[in-house]
Symmetry: C2
């Protein structure tokens, strides 16, 4: 399937290339890259097409980047809800995860990938157990994944993540690997120092859960006299950048550290709402010029893997938090969901529609009642968009989802059966 | 089309009839009413079917009730965003509404009805201008609407709403009409006393926007020395029940008044988030035994007409507000979206799947990644459900939406064209 030439014409193109202006025209995909965007009048330069798709006036745009998730936690969706974070983690999640087998992660990741595709998500930043299975599931589906190690006192070792870093970054064009650890509160100082040493050894960014709950921050201050951000910074963790997932309870000093090291905040409003963790300081982060990306978090805590819901919540919670209906405008949210995510994940080749960029594209159905009238397409996407509007999702030049059908090398039913079999075995 | 006999078999049936337990079986619809729910073994009692629908193991349940909206405001979707409520209302909404013509409301209401159908909403509680056009749009689509008068100092008169009350309650089986006024802050005391007199004359419930913003409550206290709820109660407004839309900033005394008169709270979390109005005291309302229903509010403020988003927000904002991830469990939210709405709207004949009830039903696609695995269908609906899961929406025994196609007597394209023409004329 790779190497196809696809012409998508009669589209409204939202390039996200330094502006949210729309172009009426077409996009050409040759192999896995975009070879042209424009009015389509250069017919003499056209290659031979494997497929010409009439976009019928619908919106073509870069795919969303899900910048924080634990994909394979699909097995715990709607299994353990309505609990605070630490209780949920220790009483429900960890005991069930102990029963997970490597191959389970393969099927459970595929289930999440399917949902990403329905939501126009073309890449994920995935922290979970069994990295090889995550990589294999993504490659087999044709999906793009940045794996991040979830090192902690109970899972993985420094040696393992170093081996994975070297190996999985050369595994496949759809896979990359970033160094990370689960969180300050699950990882000993000795291990954290080891992670910081790896950051220096490979001049690599480091990612982790950071300041998700008030209790986590208070406990870290109790242990080390510093917030998680300040403490990790004091270990030299962020000398080569990286970022934090959640970042709900951040001090001004924390934000200054993020700015200083060019760290990305990956906000997870759906999960923060459902676990009652709080509302992140998105307006303040924007004011300081910090990169903000958006993640769904895992399906056990959210429970939905839906970038439309997350986008609405990013601006909605900011408005609530600041008591200001003008906080965090729609175009800024869209930039976070696309460009901010690409930046945080090291996927700067997938961040916009331009010649030479990787073809990670989505087609949004504007001929649905929630997109009408067409007063402002960007606001429609952020304030009233829905999975129902995703007509087509393309990753790396391949159409993986179109008109409700998956093209991921396996029947949807088989994935559902495996997911139910896995949780059934554990109950 | 009315009077068809439809058998829906091979379904998981969520009756919402005093429990959220599932029945594996089928539902029979004869004309506009449910004639049977059960295992389907009584084949000798079956009527002649106009259609037999294989639900393929998907979920059949009562439709959602959108208990507060201004449907025809679709024309302002994504037109004026990111403004506080009063500014938005006075600088953006009112000037544009002045340009509305009666027939515009017909087309704009139809656009909203289409979106309701995509979200599994089978009835709306609609406050807007040109009641006849609202009624006509609903009847022509086959949709169920409870119209509520939006009397204020600038629109309608007491005489008009009394005439409408008597006339529109006899207009068509799909239409009913409740007495109401826009809000305390837009309606003179003289008019309010007139509304209260009508409540007594007809022993009728009264509905209004209530305590949506902090400023509104403070101004009312400044004017009358009482909160809106206490002030309206002092006028005898609620002698025969009714309810309030929004109810974000409520005192304990306000809640006691609601309980005393059996008033319904219609919560509108999407709109309250987007306009930065605040988070309602849902947990406290539940603890007092107050009926809670859910509304999308209008498409100019929300901007989405999506009961799935609202359901997630009802529990999500309660969890955030109480800092308690256990607040407002999923089954309670589902009851609000179905039964609470039916109760508030006087549609107690549409509140569950049982013999003799009106056939307002939806079929939810469980064969989608966001609904898998099937750990808990009710939690799936509330926490990860989406418009994408709505396979079929039936109102009054008629299928109005199925597999992405509308059956409302008009082409979708014609509705979109009219909506764009209307806002285009105003700009």
């Amino acid at each position: 399937m790779t190497g196809m030439n696809i012409r998508i014409y009669n589209a409204k193109v939202l390039t996200m290339n330094s502006s949210t202006a729309l172009i009426d025209g077409e996009v050409w995909v040759e192999g896995n890259r975009i070879s042209y965007v424009g009015p389509g009048t250069e017919a003499d330069k056209m290659p031979v097409w494997d497929r010409e798709m009439d976009a019928a006036g619908n919106l073509l745009m870069p795919g969303f980047k899900n910048a924080h998730t634990h994909s394979a936690m699909t097995f715990l969706r709607s299994y353990a809800d309505d609990l605070p974070l630490l209780e949920w983690l220790h009483q429900q999640v960890f005991p069930m995860e102990a029963k997970l087998q490597a191959v389970d992660v393969y099927w459970l990741s595929k289930l999440a990938i399917m949902e990403y595709l329905t939501s126009g998500i073309t890449a994920n930043f995935d922290m979970y157990l069994y990295s090889d299975m995550i990589a294999r599931a993504s490659v087999d589906c044709g999906f793009r994944t940045v794996i991040v190690s979830g090192l902690n006192d109970f899972s993985f070792s420094l040696e393992e993540i170093e081996v994975d870093y070297l190996r999985l970054n050369r595994f496949h064009e759809l896979i990359s690997y970033q160094l990370g650890f689960h969180a300050e509160y699950t990882t000993s100082e000795e291990l954290l120092k080891g992670v910081a040493a790896l950051a220096h050894k490979y001049q690599a960014p480091i990612f982790t859960h950071n300041s998700e709950t008030k209790a986590e921050v208070e406990q870290c201050i109790g242990r080390y006299g510093k917030t998680p951000t300040a403490y990790l910074d004091s270990l030299g963790m962020f000398a080569y950048g990286g970022g934090g997932y959640h970042c709900v309870h951040m001090t001004d000093e924390d934000l200054d550290i993020f700015k200083k090291h060019d760290l990305a905040v990956v906000t997870n409003p759906g999960s923060n709402v459902k676990l009652a963790s709080g509302m992140a300081r998105i307006s303040d982060m924007m004011a300081k010029g910090i990169t903000v990306a958006i993640g769904t978090d895992g399906p056990a805590s959210n429970n939905c893997l839906d970038m439309f819901r997350e986008m609405f919540l990013v601006t909605g919670l900011a408005k609530l938090r600041e008591e200001d209906a003008a906080a965090v405008a729609a175009d800024k949210v869209l930039e976070m969901a696309v460009c901010g995510g690409a930046r945080a994940m090291g996927l700067t080749d997938c961040d916009c529609i331009a010649r030479g960029k990787l073809a990670d594209l989505i087609l949004i159905d504007l001929n649905q009642p929630n997109m009408q009238p067409l007063n402002n397409v960007v606001k429609n996407l952020v304030y009233s968009g829905s999975k129902q509007n995703v007509k087509m999702t393309m990753v790396n030049g391949q159409i993986l989802y179109e008109d409700g059908q998956f093209h991921i090398g396996v029947e949807a039913k088989e994935v559902y059966q495996n997911a139910n079999r896995i949780i059934g075995r554990m109950k």
